[in-house]
């Protein structure tokens, strides 16, 4: 990855540039979908993109498709998922200028504030992109001041994966939804010796923060208000959630290994019939089915939280902070292609991700696109997922606040102490509140 330099095409003078600009404007008037492509034509260098290591060949193919349409070449660097954020921050801190990169949504505002990423306001088509999103998704990409801070890389909603065969054997008629129903069903399955540890959750330290929102939203609690105040502390249902977590772990309804295992292994436990319930992003159904284990075909998906909400997540694409206008416009064009639609107005990239891994996009149009519908395997209840995005899920806007990564980093220790029985549910509420407050205050461990 090299440092940004003015990469105006060799020999491209002001006149030629203005001509290209005129052509761009004309194309924009005639076909909105072509806007990006014409803009990218003003830059003939190569762009630098950084991604984490999820299906790197697919990423290469996708950016290659963009380049093949007459756009600039993309120098793609892929680094491991584990430790991505520290590695990325170290690179940016060291002056590495990356035109476009994957980022965790909770880092977005911090990165913009640090001058590592650009706001997207005013870029051609960006308002259309935001308008195209589910209303529920928008606060993840647009902050309270109206600044557009990122574009979607993928989105997902937390769903319950359950083993239909096991429930039937245990005499449970429908998939449990509320915490009490899940606890009772898990107990029944364990008592009837159908499965020893029925419930698995991805309870590793780094992921506990996401579960915090999932389970609180399931109980109707939004953890933070828009200003970032930790309002979960004032809601008695929060203690109830933590009591439930502790009971599930301490009573052996969840395997002890969930504190340090990876989601691939959890999906395999579902496929092998070593667990009956698994709460995580909807697309894990693809993994469970693709594993082809003895129970893979029996694993179904259902909403969680009863009449409440589930958590909607989405990792993001971040536009680098380079100030070279043509380069930036080319990067924005790639960003639109990768995080919204191609020049023909199709969800080309999201469609490929849907086919490959069941990933979704936070756009209602995505779920209505015939290609996308065809891309999802039959075992997905796509209308249910679409409805969950639309009305059954929330993002937590406070997650994009600049202090949030500090809080995110502390949740794991506190939640693990609860699960291990080293802290009471009430103490956990206090500890998380203190963690949120000190993260907002800044400079504390």
């Amino acid at each position: 990855m090299k440092t940004n330099k003015n990469n105006m095409a060799g020999g491209l003078d002001r006149r030629a540039f203005l001509k290209a600009g005129g052509a761009t404007a004309m194309a924009a008037l005639m076909a909105p979908g072509l806007v990006g492509r014409a803009e990218a034509a003003g830059f003939t260098g190569s762009l630098d993109m950084l991604a984490w290591d999820f299906q790197p060949d697919m990423i290469k193919t996708l950016v290659g498709e963009w380049t093949a349409k007459g756009n600039p070449a993309v120098n793609l660097a892929v680094i491991p998922n584990v430790g991505y954020s520290p590695a990325l921050q170290t690179r940016l801190r060291g002056g590495d200028a990356i035109d476009l990169y994957y980022n965790f949504a909770y880092n977005s505002q911090k990165f913009v504030d640090q001058g590592w990423a650009s706001k997207l306001n005013g870029l051609p088509g960006v308002d259309d992109m935001v308008a195209d999103m589910f209303e529920s998704a928008r606060p993840a990409y647009v902050n309270a001041s109206g600044d557009i801070i990122s574009a979607p890389y993928f989105s997902a909603v937390h769903m319950m994966h359950y083993n239909q065969r096991m429930l039937k054997d245990a005499g449970i008629a429908a998939a449990p939804q509320t915490l009490k129903e899940i606890y009772d069903a898990s107990k029944t399955l364990k008592d009837k010796k159908i499965v020893d540890a029925p419930y698995v959750a991805y309870w590793v330290k780094e992921f506990c923060e996401e579960y915090l929102h999932t389970y609180l939203l399931n109980e109707g609690v939004t953890a933070f208000d828009a200003a970032g105040k930790p309002v979960f502390a004032d809601d008695p249902k929060t203690v109830g959630v933590f009591e439930w977590w502790q009971a599930m772990y301490q009573e052996g309804l969840a395997a002890k290994s969930v504190l340090n295992t990876d989601p691939g292994k959890l999906a395999n436990q579902m496929a092998q019939g070593e667990a009956a319930f698994f709460v995580l992003h909807h697309y894990f159904l693809t993994s469970i089915r693709a594993l082809g284990g003895p129970e893979s075909a029996n694993v179904m998906q259902s909403p969680i939280g009863g009449s409440n909400f589930t958590f909607q997540i989405g990792e993001v694409l971040q536009l680098g902070a380079g100030e070279d206008a043509p380069r930036r416009e080319a990067a924005w064009d790639l960003m639109k292609f990768y995080g919204w639609k191609d020049s023909a107005g199709k969800f080309t990239v999201f469609n490929q991700w849907a086919k490959a891994a069941g990933l979704a996009a936070p756009y209602p149009g995505f779920f209505k696109d015939p290609d996308v519908i065809a891309a999802f395997p039959d075992y997905y209840d796509l209308p249910l997922i679409s409805k969950t995005f639309e009305t059954g899920s929330k993002v937590v806007p406070a997650r994009t606040l600049p202090w949030y990564p500090d809080f995110q980093a502390r949740v794991g220790d506190v939640v693990h102490a609860l699960l291990l029985g080293q802290a009471t549910p009430a103490q956990t509420v206090e500890d998380l509140t203190a963690a949120a407050n000190s993260a907002q205050k800044g400079r504390s461990l």
Binding site: K205, S257, D406, G412, L420, Q422, L445
Partner: protein
């Protein structure tokens, strides 16, 4: 006489200049790689450094140190570091010594055994961590199988999910590598021990333990000091194995100071706090090493 002195002085000057020239590249490299980062880290620890790193930020004096030393997270991590270090230093030194004594004996296959001793040392720390993570896995790990075969356990155990066993297993994993290093150094020391010393002691009626205590150990003291000091430094700075195996978890059960520093510097980019932690850890490691040297030499520098 005067001419001889003059010649001697000139030779000394030439030697000095030659020595300076020879060591200059290494000294410059050391300055660049060690001195500059050390000075920068100390400077950072006195500032509220912004994450972007384009400036030092406001000078805050010792405030970062006050925050660190007033935090229960730091003290908990310091305690875990202490436990890890004690286990690591004691076990790797003892196992290293045991291996060196064994490999100093004459037996068939000694050459092969000595070559095998190199393998753990030649494996990178990170690889050791990954290997042991799988080895200690609760469902497919070989460690459970071994313990079951030995009758030491009756069921599979998730060692890395249990806050008590997680620390022990990370210590054992790190010791597995470091003991081989200690063994190699101590074996080199043993090979310089004249055989007639032990023979003479045997003739005088000294038993095995007396020969070990009064001849072998004193002979090995310089090598033992080196091994122990290096082990202490490795213990305090240990990161890779623990991070690969547990990332500091479950909870904060294996969160040694180096992992806390990593989290502060690279995870949440609190550069000032992370640097203060690094300075404290560096000081503790240095002090630990110096105290050990002093203690080991104080116990009689004369061979018994």
């Amino acid at each position: 006489m005067s001419a001889t002195r003059k010649l001697g002085g000139s030779l000394r000057n030439d030697d000095g200049r030659f020595g300076l020239k020879v060591t200059a590249p290494a000294a410059i490299l050391l300055a660049v790689l060690l001195l500059i980062p050390t000075v920068l880290t100390i400077l950072y620890s006195l500032h509220d450094v912004p994450a972007h790193g384009r400036s030092l930020g406001p000078f805050v004096g010792l405030e970062n140190y006050t925050i660190v030393l007033g935090s229960s997270v730091f003290w908990r991590s310091a305690w875990v570091t202490f436990l890890f270090s004690v286990g690591f230093v004691v076990l790797s030194t003892l196992f290293g010594l045991a291996m060196a004594l064994l490999l100093n004996q004459h037996f068939i296959g000694r050459g092969l055994a000595r070559a095998l001793l190199i393998i753990p040392w030649a494996t990178p720390w990170l690889m050791i961590g990954i290997l042991w993570k799988w080895f200690a896995d609760g469902s497919v790990g070989g460690l459970n199988a071994v313990l079951l075969m030995m009758g030491a356990t009756t069921d599979y155990h998730d060692f890395l999910s249990d806050p008590n066993s997680a620390l022990v297993v990370t210590i054992v994993a790190a010791v597995w590598r470091q003991a081989s290093f200690a063994g190699i150094l101590l074996l080199a020391g043993l090979q310089t021990l004249p055989g007639d010393l032990n023979e003479a002691a045997s003739l005088d009626g000294a038993n095995l333990w007396q020969r070990f205590r009064n001849i072998t150990l004193p002979w090995l003291r310089p090598a033992l000091v080196t091994v122990t000091v290096l082990n202490i430094i490795y213990a305090f700075l240990q990161f890779d194995v623990i991070f690969a195996m547990t990332q500091g978890g479950p909870g904060d059960a294996t969160q040694v100071l180096s992992i806390l520093i990593y989290r502060q510097l690279f995870g949440v980019t609190q550069i000032g706090l992370g640097s203060a932690l690094a300075v404290i850890l560096g000081f503790v490691a240095l002090a630990g090493g110096l105290i050990t040297v002093k203690l080991l030499y104080a116990r009689g520098s004369q061979p018994a």
